[in-house]
Amino acid sequence: MGYSINAWPAFKNYQNTRYRNYLYTSQGLRCMGSTWSPLAPLKGFGDDVYLIGGEPHAASAAGTVPEEAREDIIAAEAAGLGFHSCSYLKLFNGEVVRNKIAITDKTVKEGYPKPDVIWTTHLCSQHSKWYQEVSRRLGGIPMYAIDMIGGGNAEKDPKIVNYVSDQIEAGIDWLERVTGRGFSDELFVKAVRNEIKVLVLWGNICALNMHSPAPLDERRLIALFPPAVVDRTTDECVQLYETLLEEVRRMVEMGESVAPDQRFRIVYFGIAHTYGHPEMARILRDAGAEIVASVYTFGTCGNFKGIVDGRWTWEPIDPQWVDDLDLSTRRKAITELAKIVLGWPTWQGVRSYWALESMAKALVTEFKADGLLLAPSRGCETDFRNGYIALQRIFKDQVPTVEYDTDQVDVRKMDLPGAQRKTELFVHLMEARKKGRA
């Protein structure tokens, strides 16, 4: 019997409430942008700042209201966005085109809620173009994109940290001008500490999956990181993850798991395509194979020690470190924020193949993988596509490795029967390897 996460209802409620607040607020400031942005600067402008992040909103909409999501993608294509473009981007823009928006509690609201400002980041070649298109379609929303530049180990490169920090600092001045609001350093510093704390706490929770049985499976990992991506700057969010960390620690002590049948431990590289294809997860579950670690769920909004002595480790950062951070000036707070954001695992491999491969090696070793499942997303040019090819070379003699193409939210782009056959083969390979060992 699998363990049920007690903290789950509070997580779901947090996510829904944040989205509803964005949709229905009649006052305050609506802010839009990539969730892969430092969010705390927005919170320096008051408690009535409501956020909607591109990737998590698109992902959760596809999972919650798939029919709407499909219509959104088609509408974006009909409006001129290319078939090969990012499907998160198309779903998001499709809502603007259709002038309606759907959120995780299944509310479908007619009339797109216009943001007051767009505050976002640029990493892949389409990343901020996404919001340029939204801004254009909505008549010219003021927009500020931060060039995150990226690269392996970027958070430890002073040149890159300064570059990003300078942009954030200039961005705060811009926000003051464009919103007409004053900036509170007190609110900002509080939000920075919360933002960093949540990222570190989620890293700690994920790292507990190194234990056997792993307390969490991929489905729960996907379900439990949304508060961190939706709004990680609040006291409430910190409390959610502190509570969850305690609960998962207890699970480990008791040998509990949400999916206790774990004959095979799988490490997964890819965006969570199981939003659209739960049948893929079912093949694994029936064979007692669980995804216990993935860069996407761990690294989209979680931080780890990263590169230490030239090699990646998924060892967690002590949460106490966050409490001790010196955030006594705006610049210091900005710098720490820039470092934590640049340290996200999902960003390491976008521009640095060596960092990606180091992460993969550590993921397989530290999480004691029986198999490596690679599922690159055809619509995502940064989804480690080339890493996937290299990873097959690296791991082919070490653990069973299978790759199939998928897409983050566009179900049309997946060869489902082919992927199912490959997944079955994957299970057989892991079984054979285990027997061979015995």
Binding site: G80, L81, C124, K159, R351, E381, T382, N386
Partner: protein, 388 residues
């Protein structure tokens, strides 16, 4: 038959684009170091200041499957083709390969060279802003260019002085001015040179020693100034899009069943390569280079003015439309390229307002002549219909 006058010089340029390796090896035979670069954001001047001839890596337009084992199939054909050049060892004679961090696709083509084509020890990736209009971009680039300078000094075992860089800046600016003068001929109703010829010369300039290139350009321009235009005025077509080094596409645009003139190409293999200058005589030469490269017509992957989200390239496109007066626009981009088509979505309403018809051509390793011909002729028919 031997050609004379301007045609002879144009043929020489075309021959260099068709036989890049032969040309580069002739430089090597003279004792020159030759460096490959993959993106026009690489500051060639630093290499040139060290006595190295920078040469742009171009595609072979060979239908091949080799690269599918290294780069995902949904990367553009230009990146596949450039990666293939490395895997095929076509450029083994290069002393160095450099690129600036640019679009994801070309970044991976560079990685293939570094990892699998034997260039690991003789490669340099220039950290480069992905949004070039940010306030701190200039300082960041200056530092990056300093790192490249140090790397090149070690490789060439030659200290690069400020005077060396200044001389290189002036040589390159001269090339840019000459190319601009060449392109200015295309504004005329009956230019003495055709668009495809200008495209070939511009492409050749990207693989040539600039001093030699400048000499040929000066001679060509002098001759053209005295020659009458030959081409009968036809429908004026402007191209806007991404990298295209396949001159067959441009030739095709003037070989339709209608009279047409290719009068401008907004792409990184054409006007975006040279339509800027680096400030001269600035005390900090690396800073000057940074300022110059920031002033380039932005690549769509890097174009986002902080605060407004404006695409600065659109200003240039509108300027080119005003100056070169196209009757129609051909959006030409690599299949699977993401930033280019995203700009096209926003450009179409601008062209609609200006009353300029357009069409889209999607490039791959090989050119579908019949399909493109049909699309281009349909565009011309629309234009003529509009005119009537």
């Amino acid at each position: 038959m031997e050609t004379k006058g301007s045609k002879a010089i144009i043929d020489r340029f075309r021959s260099i684009t068709d036989n890049t390796h032969e040309y580069a090896k002739s430089l090597k035979a003279k004792g020159r170091l030759v460096a490959g670069y993959m993106c026009t954001h690489a500051p060639e001047e630093i290499l040139y200041a060290a006595g190295i001839v920078p040469l742009r890596i171009l595609s072979p337009h060979v239908s091949q499957a080799t690269t599918r084992g290294y780069i995902h199939e949904t990367y553009c054909s230009f990146s596949h083709d450039c990666a293939y050049q490395g895997l095929h060892h076509s450029y083994d004679y290069l002393d160095l390969i450099v690129t600036s961090s640019s679009c994801i696709h070309m970044g991976e083509a560079f990685n293939v060279w570094v990892r699998f084509a034997g260039f690991k020890e003789k490669s340099f990736l220039i950290p480069y802003p992905h949004i070039i209009h940010t306030k701190p971009a200039s300082a960041f680039m200056t530092e990056s260019f300093g790192q490249l300078k140090e790397f090149v000094e070690k490789l060439s075992q030659k200290a690069i002085t400020n005077d060396d860089i200044e001389k290189a800046i002036k040589t390159y600016n001269h090339t840019r001015r000459l190319l601009k003068r060449l392109w200015a001929f295309l504004r005329h109703e009956k230019p003495p040179i055709t668009g495809p010829e200008v495209a070939a010369v511009t492409l050749a300039a990207q693989v040539m020693d600039k001093e030699e290139c400048n000499g040929m350009l000066e001679e060509l321009i002098t001759l053209l100034q005295t020659e009458p235009g030959e081409a009968p005025p036809g429908v004026r077509l402007m191209v806007s899009g991404g990298a295209c080094d396949d001159l067959v596409v441009f030739d095709l645009m003037e070989r339709l069943n209608y009279a047409t003139n290719l009068i401008f190409i907004d792409s990184c293999t054409a006007a975006r390569y040279f339509w800027f200058e680096v400030p001269e005589d600035m005390p900090n030469k690396l800073r000057a280079l940074a300022e110059g490269y920031i002033s380039k017509i932005p690549c769509p992957a890097k174009d986002n003015v902080p605060g407004t989200g404006e695409k600065k390239r659109f200003r240039f496109i509108q300027q080119f439309i005003e100056e070169f007066k196209p009757d129609g626009v051909v959006f030409l981009y690599q299949r699977f390229c993401s930033p280019q088509p995203m700009d096209i979505v926003a450009l179409k309403p601008i062209l609609d307002r200006l009353g300029i018809p357009y069409t889209e051509l999607e490039l791959d390793s090989t050119v579908p002549i019949s399909q493109f011909t049909t699309q281009l002729e349909a565009l011309v028919e629309i234009i003529e219909g509009v005119a009537a």
